[in-house]
């Protein structure tokens, strides 16, 4: 049997312990509703919401143009990436300083 076939078998999907979805929902309830998501209140169906969004788009009522939104999302990703890299290097340096300090 080839290595690739062995890998497919060895790395096949497995399910988490039963009740995983329930545990996720518990966490959602514990951690609260998402702050950034616009939630529709009861009484408005999803079709009505979607239709109004489509109409707004057709009328050009977005606060950002598609181009600006794309640029903004890209800039956000880049900021997050840069800060992640910078934070990682700073933490590493701090960790090394602490390690050296603890062995002095």
């Amino acid at each position: 049997m080839s290595l690739e076939e062995d890998l497919r078998r060895a790395l096949r999907r497995e399910s988490p312990a039963p009740g995983f979805a329930a545990r996720v929902l518990e966490r959602i309830e514990r951690d609260g509703e998402p702050a950034t998501q616009v939630r529709q209140h009861s009484g408005r169906t999803w079709r009505a919401v979607a239709a109004s969004l489509t109409l707004t788009a057709l009328l050009g009522g977005w606060a950002f143009t598609v181009h600006q939104r794309r640029e903004g999302e890209r800039a956000r990703e880049q900021v997050l990436l840069a800060m992640r890299i910078a934070g990682e290097k700073v933490r590493y340096a701090q960790q090394e300083v602490r390690t050296i300090g603890s062995t002095d």
Binding site: E4, L7, P16, I28, W46, A51, E88
Partner: protein, 180 residues
């Protein structure tokens, strides 16, 4: 005038219902994709509790970003990408922590076993690969993705993905030859 109705609105799938706030529909989505997400993390780390934690984090993140998902196929891609990148992030951060000698000994003492335990050995060997090779191998053989699909998930050029895959397979073959 005919209104153009986006794909997501034409079919009241669990995905569309979840986007409108239906928790049962979201649970259905979780059930549909939990094995995929969990297994990516499990095959990456070989630690079930860590895999469960990462999988929960990913679905929590999904819940918070559901409005930005545009279709079922986008959802699948998003889940694979987010899970893979979380695994890589966690491994990179853990790299700076001091590894206990006890853990190091456990990794080194992978048993030299015959075929019946080959799956477990292979998994352990995959988990010793550097993070990018590990991610590429897991996506290739767990999810059966080809390099052109993997490159979007890990954010690397396709030739880089192929290079990682090639080196990973070479490394695994060498280890198997050393410990038959």
């Amino acid at each position: 005038m005919t209104a153009i109705v986006p794909e997501a609105l034409q079919f009241p799938t669990a995905f569309a219902r979840a986007q409108s706030g239906d928790h049962d529909a979201f649970a259905e989505l979780v059930g549909k994709h939990e094995a995929m997400v969990y297994s990516l993390a499990w095959n990456f780390f070989g630690d079930r509790s860590k895999a469960e934690e990462i999988a929960q984090d990913v679905f929590l993140q999904l819940y918070r970003h559901l409005e930005s998902i545009e279709s079922d196929s986008h959802l699948l891609f998003w889940l694979r990408q987010v899970t893979t990148r979380r695994c890589i992030d966690q491994l990179r951060r853990a790299r700076f922590k001091i590894v206990s000698l006890e853990h190091a000994e456990d990794v080194a003492a992978s048993p030299r076993v015959a075929d019946p335990l080959l799956d477990r050995r292979l998994k352990a060997m995959v988990q010793e690969l550097p993070e990018l090779q590990r991610a590429v191998v897991t996506l290739r053989y767990q999810e059966d993705l080809d390099p052109s699909e993997i490159c979007g998930i890990v954010g690397m050029p396709v030739n880089t993905v192929k290079s990682h895959l090639h080196r990973a397979l070479q490394a695994l073959r060498r280890k198997l030859e050393k410990h038959p």
